[in-house]
Structure formats: C-alpha cells, structure tokens
Subunit: 602 residues, 2 copies
C-alpha cells in the first residue's frame, strides 16, 4: 500500500505523543467477523473454552516462569494437571479409543497450556495406552484399559535405545522365551541397548511397552535361538509403592533443552521375567511350546504393521505443533500491531507491523498457520476413517500423510518460533511472553516420533513406489515421453515463462495448484531417473544417499501441494464472503511464497 | 564420493556390531596438521588455554545444568567468576583501553564458558566502562577508571526505555539543568520512559550511564526549556551497601529466555539530582550558566558521534557470536562423525556425517565459521586502527562493518544453533550437551546493541550514500549506462549464463569474488533506482519501507562479499599447503552455497 508521510487518520495534526495514535497496522487488516470465522474454522471450540477455563480456575497448575521451576517441581505440576483433566470429565484414552478427533483436539488445547503436559498426556494415553490397544489383543485391552485410562497405571513406551533411535529395526534389547517357565526373559545385552529418553520412566511409570528382539528356541532343535526381530512386550517396572522391580535399573535423563515437566529416564533390564502372555500379540504370537506364528508373512511386514499402528502419535504431534504455531503467531502479530518504533519526520511513530520486513516475516507464517490448520483437519479425518474402515489404501495414505505433515509442520513451527521472537524485539525475550519456552519445548517435536529427516525419506519412498507401480512394465522412454507431455501440459500459463504477472493470474487458485503439483511431479520424475541411473553402480543405499537432498525436497514439495489443495477446499467451502476473501488472501500468500522461494519453477 | 555398498575398510567382513567399526566420516575428512592450522588461525591461543584452565580449576563456577539453577544462583556464579578473572590477572577494562584485541579475544573465550558471564563482563567494562571512557573527558576517566576496572563500582548502560529500543533518538527520560544548584535533575516523565532491560541494574549496579534528553533554560530568557536531544550522564543508583538511592526505583526484569546470569532491571527516576559535571561531555558541554556548546554543529551529528563511540560493543558481540558458532559446529560435527545409524543391508551402520543431508546441513556452517573467524579478525584490526588514528573514513568503515557483521554473524549463528541441535537428534536435546542453552542465551545477540533489522538498514544507507557521492551530479542515464557496462563486464563467465560448470571454473576464487561483488553492485544499483522512483511520490520514509526487503538483502550481500574477500586473503596468506587446501575448500563452499541460494544471480 502506498501512502504519503504521516498518512492515515493521524496526518491531520502534529504528532500527539507515541501512545495516543491508534496503530495503523490494525486498521488496515482485512475486515471480517471474527466470530463467524471462528465458527467456520473450529467446530469444537466449546471444548477449548472449557479447557482454558479449567486452567484459569487452577492457575497454580501453570508453570510460572517467575519461579524458575526445577524439573521436579514442573513434573509435579504436570502430574496434578493430568489428574485435574480426568476429574473434569475428560478421559483422553476414551477419546483416543472412541472419538480420536476429540483426543487430538484436546492435545492442541493443552499445547498452549504447557507442552510438557501435552506430551506427558501423549506418553500415557497415546504411546503407552495406544501401544497396548493397537498392538495387543482383547485380553490386553481388558486387563489394562481402565487402569491406564484412570492413571492408576502410569506407563511408558520404551523403544529408543542409547545407540538406536531412528533405526528401530536394529534395537538390541532382547526377550528370550523360557519354555520351562512360560516366561519372557527381557534383557539389555550391553550399554548401547539401554532404553533411553523414555518418557514417564524416571519417576512415574509402573509398566512399559518394551520393544525387544523376540527370540525363541529353534523349532528344529538347533542349539541357537531364532531371532524374529523387534516386537512389543508389556513389562512391569515399578511396584505399587513406586520402587523399581528387581532387575530393573532406572536413571533420570536429567535436564533437557525443554519439556522438563516430563520425567524421561534410561532403563536397563537384567534378565527380567514376564509371563508369555505379555507379548502384545496382534501381529504375531508364540505358543507355550515356543512356536511363533503370524498372519503376516515376513519380518519386515510385521514390523511395518507394528510401526503403522503408531501413526496416532504423529497425528497428535501435528495437532500440538499447529496449536503452538497459532499461539506464537498470535502473540507476534498482536505485539507488532501495538508496538510502535520510528516514523517519518515530525509524525507519530508507526506500528512495526507496517514495516515491510515485519510483514514479510509474519504474514507468511499467519497464512501457513491457516493452511496447516486445515491440513491437520484433513489428517485427523483420514485417520478416523482409517481406524474405522482399516482399508489398506487408507492405511498407506495416512502413513504417508502423517509422516509428511509431522515433519513439515514441526520444522515449520520451529523456525517460526524464532522468527516470532525476533519480530518482538527485546520484549520477546522476556520469559513471561512464552516464545522462548515454546521454542525450547517444541524443538524436539522435530525429532521424536520419527526424526523429520527420516520421515521425509519415507514419504518420498512411498511416492516413488506409487509412481513405479503406475509405470511398471513400461519402458523408460515411454514413461519419459508420457510424463514430459503431462508436465508441459500441466503448467500452460507458468508466469515465470509467460511473464504474465497480472495479479488476476498470479492469484488464480487453479494456476497455483497446478504449479505446486507440477513441481512435485517434476521432482518425482527427475528423482526417479537419477536413482535409476545411480543405482546399478552404487547400490540402492548409496544411490539414495547421493540424491538425499532431492529426496527431502520432493517430500516437502508434496506436503506443500497437499496443504495448498486442502486450503483451497476450505476457502471454497466458506460461505461467508468476507471470511472467504480473507482466507483466499491467506491461501494466495501461502502458495506465492512457496513459488517465490523455489528455483525449481524456472 | 561414490562407493559400493559396505565400501571402505569395513567392507572386507561381515558386520561386526555397531561399535566396532571406525566411523567412516572421520576418515574421509581432508588431512592437515591441526597444530599448524591452529597456529595459523589463532595467534593468541595461549590466552585461551589459560582462560579455560582457570575455569577447569574452578568447576564450581560453571553453570551446572543438572542443578537447574535459579536466576539468583546463576547471577552469583557470574559475580564470582568476574572476580576470579580479575584475580588471575586479566583486567578487561585495561585490555579495552590499551589492547582491544585482547579484550575481544577474552570475550570469545568466555562465550564458550558461559554467555551470561561474557555479556555481564561486556556490560561492566564495555558498556558502562566504555561509555565513561569514550563519551566522557579526562576528569571522568580519572574519577572512575580504577573503580570500574577493579569492579569496585559495578555499573550500567541505561539507554533503552520501555517504549523505545531501536529508536533511541526518541528516548523520553530527561535531564534538566538546575542553574541555581548547578545540578541535573534526572527524571522519568511517564511509564513508557522507564529504563528497561538494563543489565547489572537489578542487583549489582551502583551507578549508570543514563541516556536522557538534555534540557537547559532558554538562553534568550524564554519561558521554555531548550531540548538538545539525547546525551549521556553518570547517575549513581545505589549506595555502598547496595540500597537504591532516593528517587531511584528499580525492579528486576525477571526470567528471560536465556542469559539468566545477568540481572537486568527496570529503573525509574524521580527528580534525581546529580552534579552538572556528571554530563559525559566529550561531544557537548554545558557551563555553570547553562550555556550549551559543542564542537559538532548539529544535534544529529552529536548523536551520531555518541552512538559511533559505542561500536566496541558490537565488535564484542561479533567475537562472542563467532565463538559460539565455533563451539556449536564442533559439537555437531564431532557427534556426527561418531554417531552411526542405518546402513546398507548386512553392513555396519554408517556415521551420520556420511549422509548427504548431514553434510549439507553442517559443512556450510563449518565453512562459514571459518569465514566469520577471519572477518572478525578484520573487524578487530580495523577497530584498533580506528581507535589509534581516529581517521574519519575509518570511523565510517568500522561503523558499517561492525553493524553489518554484527547483524549477519548473530543471525547466522542463531539459525546454525538450531541446525546443530537437530543434526544431533535426541542426544542434542540433553541440556548437558549445551546446544539448547547456547541457543537461548545467544538469541538476544540478534536484538541488543542494535536490532539486526535496524543495523542492516544502516549498512545499506551507508552504501547508498557512498554510491550517490560517487555519482553525484551525473545524470541518471549516464550513471545507468556506466554501471550497466561495469556490471556486465564484472561477470564475464557467469556459469549460470555460460553453463560453464567445470569445477575448475566454479572454484575459481576470482570468479567467485566477482560474482559476489556483482550481486552487491546490482542490488545497490537497482535499489537506488527504485528509491529514486518511489521517493517523490511516497516521501523518503515510505519509499524506503516499500523497498525494505531489497534494503536488507543488499546489506547481507555486501557483508557476504566482504567476508568472502577476507576469507580469500586468509587462504592466500596460509603457507602450509595442506592447511591452505583445506581452507580453500572451505572458502569455495562458503561462496558456492551463497550462489546456489540466491536467485539474484540469474
Ligand atoms: C525429550 C525426548 C523424549 C523422548 N521420548 C521417548 C519415549 O517416550 N519413548 C521412546 O522410545 N523414545 C523417546 N525418545 C527418543 C526419540 O524417539 C529419538 O530421539 C528419535 O527417534 C531420534 O533418534 P535418535 O535421537 O537416536 O537420533 P538418530 O537416529 O541417531 O539421528 C541423529 C541424526 O542423524 C540423522 N539421521 C539418522 N538417520 C538418517 C538417515 N537415514 N538419513 C539422514 N539422516 C539421518 C537424523 O536426522 C538426526 O539428525 C525421546 C527423545 C527425547 C529427546
Ligand atoms: C537481555 C537483554 C539485555 C539488554 N541489556 C541492555 C542494557 O544493558 N542497556 C540498554 O540500554 N538496553 C539493553 N537491552 C535493550 C536492547 O538494546 C533492546 O531490546 C534493543 O535495542 C531493541 O529494542 P526493542 O527491544 O525496543 O525493540 P524494538 O525497537 O521495539 O523493535 C521491535 C521489532 O521491530 C522491528 N523494527 C523496529 N524498527 C524497525 C524499522 N525501522 N524497520 C524494520 N523493523 C523495525 C525490530 O526489528 C524488532 O523485530 C537489553 C535487552 C535484552 C533483552
């Protein structure tokens, strides 16, 4: 927007002192009815209001930065908060089992209360509870459900080891069947196999879902044990008084960069015995005689099915991360509208939102927050459908979408938190304004439940698989010509080629959607060519590694294309014209910033 | 590098367990003698060894993350550390006054000990001490030097107010001369003018350099006071027992995102009286009768001279920030060489440094750390020269260079800290590994001593000024043609145009230096055109704002070009061939990543 020095309402008179003039930034934002917008965006907002009200009534539960909480004090707050949530009639495990949308929504609400609380709740209900529900059978459900739901049995999800985080297939903890006693002997063979970072372990956990290599005697009577790979077992770790059980050694992982309200611990097992029935046996079981059986034919498939059941955790992180993003950008935009600094000579100072640099910093984040809000809705809906129908195609899709969106959203939010702090200047550095704690707490969202760099590779692997299935059998040249045509056709009015930079064209959703699709298709196509070329010479692993940046870019491009399409549907679905106009502007900005930032479009 | 599955020394046999194999990453790094490199990089390393040794002997002074320090405890550590430094014969104020290279070097050493300590030392010696030395006259120096140097008089630099940080010219605190008593009456007129964020104020400060509007009676006898703008005054704030003096009200600014070892406070003055001689009068003085005089002709010039004397603080931040960058990238690269995760089927796992994505994350940071190390050397040397010669051209240059490098380095380091944490996965999130604390502490380096967004604008403004002086009088078209020719000539072999992408050409320093210069020149030229075009219609302020992103990009490009040229000189100056080869590789990477990331080159 162009204007003269001291333009706007304040131009009539001399400067009246910095506090008297209404901030210009606010006045120039597009107008819409916030209530109408909220209704459209959020059909569960009553719950949010209630949850916030609940904590308003318990201010003593909020981590008070002014007290410089120790980790023990923070953990105590979180423990009490979990109880208060239950006492107020919210049962996260019931939500998860019966109405996952509510579960994820509650998570988003808690993210702005205290991320430690949100994550600790996730550990108890989604990781510990979810692993029992999804990997176990009816007997496990019957036995544990109520105790987990009511917090009578706090538990852990003990997968990661000191030496293995991302590469879970290589975990070394072992569970060996003792046929004589009908028990598993759970054991940590060396220091590298100590379970590490396990949430709820250092203080509260009474039991854990332990991921360990299942080993049984050789059915052919050979002297060696047969290793069936990583499976999940329920292992009690503390008694009712909270003392560790024999053979279980637990250490506190100590202070972390953030999330210090969670008691992460390291666990070492020394020949700990649990009944044979403690194997969570949905995908594989072992009978009294030690015979192993599974409906799934290969170890890889069983492991994939096991990990596939854990997508819920990633959906939860997307919800939490989007919550944080909304909170952070709200803080920063509000402050930028109020804070005034510098101005034309002899004029009142301008609101910092009026600086082009502030707008370029904050507005794309705002736009992306909307986009990711809708994408998170899509993911939740698909997840619910998948849980209901168990349709294999949907299972694959939710896996890819949850991996991609988890990686994209958490990386985006993390960078945005820094930008928001910087945009708020010195006052953004006051602990009480929360941007620092949000950044420190949220940081690890990028790493746990699947490291982002690793998840993005899974997304691209799935895209490549689909792509190859589509063209399987076709000779390379045929595929090439087909795609070339398709790609060229896809972007007939590429403004970067036609130089048609009229706003009408640049803000045409059909064009923008095509552009983002085109980018994904082209990257997929070229990646596939590069892998084919390098594979024979280097072997699959090193060929993949040689293209790794390309692989990661493809996955991000794919996610961006999905987010934009979802955003567009949300714009179209909005009946209120003013809200729709505002949403449309945000979606334009979302797509145009991507195009501006990416040379692939040339 | 291309290789077959399981290549390298570990390919001869079957996998021997994850811990047995030497990490491949380390083996493939270019070889040079680390001692020779260190000698070349750092001619003061004895001091670093001694400083580190000093803290090794006082482990009780290091902030121990495992104790979850309160801000009070952390402040106490910092207080004691400052004394230990003095007791060991290091006098930072002496360094600053006599051998600033040592002062900045000590700051870099302290940055990896504890950033709170480094900054608190900076507040006492560079901000408080430096303002007295540089803005005062001989009498101030005599009166305060020893007490400041020996920590007998802890003090503050009280510039920022609640409502004004970047726009210091608009500060509202006032110092009114009372001619009858020959005193200044220092007063906070409203809440917005409360001094805010003042380091050393909440607990320790006994005195402060207070920036306030100097007001004297109208020499023509008029009823109104004459406001000469912002000047610096020494104001005692606490007595020898640490009690605040009458009329001085101080509050603790509370917990911050980081740097909690520093006692930032808010100060309100109510008609506090100090002798007339407490005006730091190097650039302006007031006599008994209230007559104001100055060797500098305008208020703007006096203010610029005042701020110009404070460049030392920025040089210090560059040194500290480069120290943090070196520390962080060392942590991340070391870990990446040791950590192994995944690998080709039936092979040992590979070191994560071997992943292309890890290399693309970390190696450019390593390269930039070298580049900024040399640039910081250049800045220090120029600063020393400037202090010695007081040559106006050098004053301007150091101002631009310190502003640009401060902004560039601190923004770069801040982003790098997040990247390093992410590259270390879960173990990067353990507080004990320091990346989190470094990020939280360092964050505000981007904001204090001049917000980066504001400093970059000053750099571009100076570039434009120089540019205009060069072409003053020339008609626009002449300038245009001249520059067009110069620009086109500057980049005869642009590989993005000639498609000459041979490594020999791409790694040719002459080409790379030209490319970076060309980018700066082009941006400067186009920015100047855009401002000329928009100025008449919008007025200078809004025209500038309309081009703000361009302005910031120009400043960054300029800094990058300077850093690269300095880097090249350092490569050329290295006589050891292996070290030179390694440095050359780093400098290539530094420049090529910039070119890859910037569409301006097309
Ligand atoms: C606060 C916290 C809470 C946690 N809670 C739990 C819990 O309750 N239960 C549990 O089981 N675990 C938990 N974890 C562990 C978490 O799941 C792991 O940290 C995560 O899976 C990553 O593994 P890692 O830390 O071993 O990193 P690594 O797998 O060692 O990765 C290190 C780095 O290498 C990179 N890298 C690895 N492989 C590749 C590749 N193939 N290509 C490219 N780059 C690669 C990664 O991107 C990363 O940057 C928690 C961790 C933390 C910090
Ligand atoms: C830990 C800490 C220690 C400090 N110590 C001291 C001290 O000892 N003494 C002291 O005097 N001060 C101190 N400060 C204050 C510090 O110098 C200020 O925070 C800094 O100068 C920035 O001012 P501000 O915070 O008011 O931000 P503002 O100036 O209000 O800026 C807010 C935002 O607006 C943007 N902005 C402002 N103007 C423009 C523009 N023209 N164009 C584009 N964007 C703009 C900025 O980039 C920033 O993002 C300290 C601050 C902190 C947090």
């Amino acid at each position: 927007m162009e204007r003269q020095e001291c333009s706007g309402s304040s131009s009539q008179g001399p400067p009246q002192g910095r506090s008297g003039t209404p901030p210009r930034g606010i006045k120039q934002l597009p107008r819409f009815d916030a209530g109408v917008m909220e209704t459209y965006l959020d059909d569960m907002r009553d719950m949010k209001a209630k949850v916030y009200q609940m904590f308003r009534e318990h201010p003593e539960l909020l981590p008070n930065v002014e007290e410089g909480l120790s980790k023990e004090e923070h953990r105590e707050l979180v423990r009490r908060s979990l109880k208060v949530i239950l006492q107020n009639g919210y049962s996260p495990l019931d939500f998860l089992a019966r109405d996952p949308r509510k579960y994820f929504y509650l998570g988003e609400c808690l993210s702005m209360v205290d991320l430690s609380l949100m994550v600790k709740s996730g550990v108890q209900y989604s990781l510990w509870g979810g692993s029992v529900l999804n990997l176990g059978s009816e007997q496990h459900r019957r036995r544990y459900y109520d105790d987990i739901a009511q917090l009578r049995l706090p538990g852990c999800f003990a997968m990661t080891e000191l030496k293995h985080g991302s590469n879970v297939a290589a975990l070394q903890t072992e569970a060996v069947l003792d046929v004589l006693t009908d028990e598993w002997v759970v054991h940590t063979p060396d220091e590298g196999a100590i379970k590490w970072w396990i949430g709820n372990a250092a203080e509260d956990g009474r039991a854990a879902t332990v991921f360990a290599r299942l080993k049984v005697p050789d059915p052919n009577g050979g002297p060696k044990l047969v290793d069936h790979g990583v499976h999940a077992f329920v292992v009690p770790i503390r008694d009712a008084n909270g003392s560790t059980l024999p053979g279980v050694e637990i250490r506190d992982c100590g202070y972390k960069v953030g999330l210090n309200g969670i008691d992460n611990g390291a666990i070492r097992f020394s020949h700990v015995r649990v009944p044979r029935t403690n194997l969570l046996d949905r995908f594989a079981s072992v009978d009294k005689s030690g015979r192993y059986s599974s409906p799934l034919t290969s170890q890889a498939r069983r492991f994939a099915a096991t990990l596939g059941e854990l997508t819920g955790g990633r959906v939860g992180l997307v919800a939490g991360s989007v919550g944080v993003l909304k909170g952070a950008i709200t803080i920063a935009v509000r402050y930028a509208c109020l804070r005034q600094q510098f101005g034309p000579p002899d004029c009142p100072e301008v609101a910092i939102i009026d600086y082009q640099s502030t707008q370029l910093r904050l507005m794309p984040i705002l736009a992306t927050a909307y986009g990711l809000h809708f994408a998170r809705g899509l993911l939740t809906d698909k997840y619910v459908d998948m849980k209901r129908t168990r349709e294999p195609r949907l299972v694959e899709e939710v896996h890819a979408l949850s991996a991609g969106l988890k990686a994209y959203t958490t990386s985006y939010t993390q960078a945005a938190l820094s930008t928001c702090r910087e945009a708020c200047g010195g006052h953004g550095y006051a602990a009480v304004n929360r941007l620092g704690a949000l950044r420190s707490d949220h940081d690890i969202f990028q790493t746990f439940e699947g490291d982002n760099t690793v998840l993005l590779q899974q997304v691209s692997a799935m895209l490549l698989k689909e792509y190859r299935q589509q063209f399987s059998g076709a000779p390379l040249t045929a595929t090439y010509h087909y795609l070339r045509a398709a790609l060229l056709g896809a972007l007939p009015n590429n403004p970067l080629v036609t130089h048609d930079t009229e706003p009408r064209h640049l803000r045409d959703p059909a064009f923008l959607a095509k552009a983002l699709e085109y980018r994904t298709a082209r990257m997929l196509f070229t990646l596939s060519l590069r892998l084919r070329k390098a594979g024979p010479r280097l072997g699959a692993f090193h060929a993949w590694n040689k293209c790794l940046e390309h692989v990661l870019d493809l996955a991000n491009a794919y996610v961006e294309s999905v987010v934009y399409k979802t955003f567009l549907r949300a714009v179209e679905g909005c009946v209120d014209p003013e809200c729709r106009r505002a949403l449309k502007a945000m979606s334009d900005l979302f797509a145009l910033r991507l195009i501006e930032g990416d040379m692939m479009f040339r």
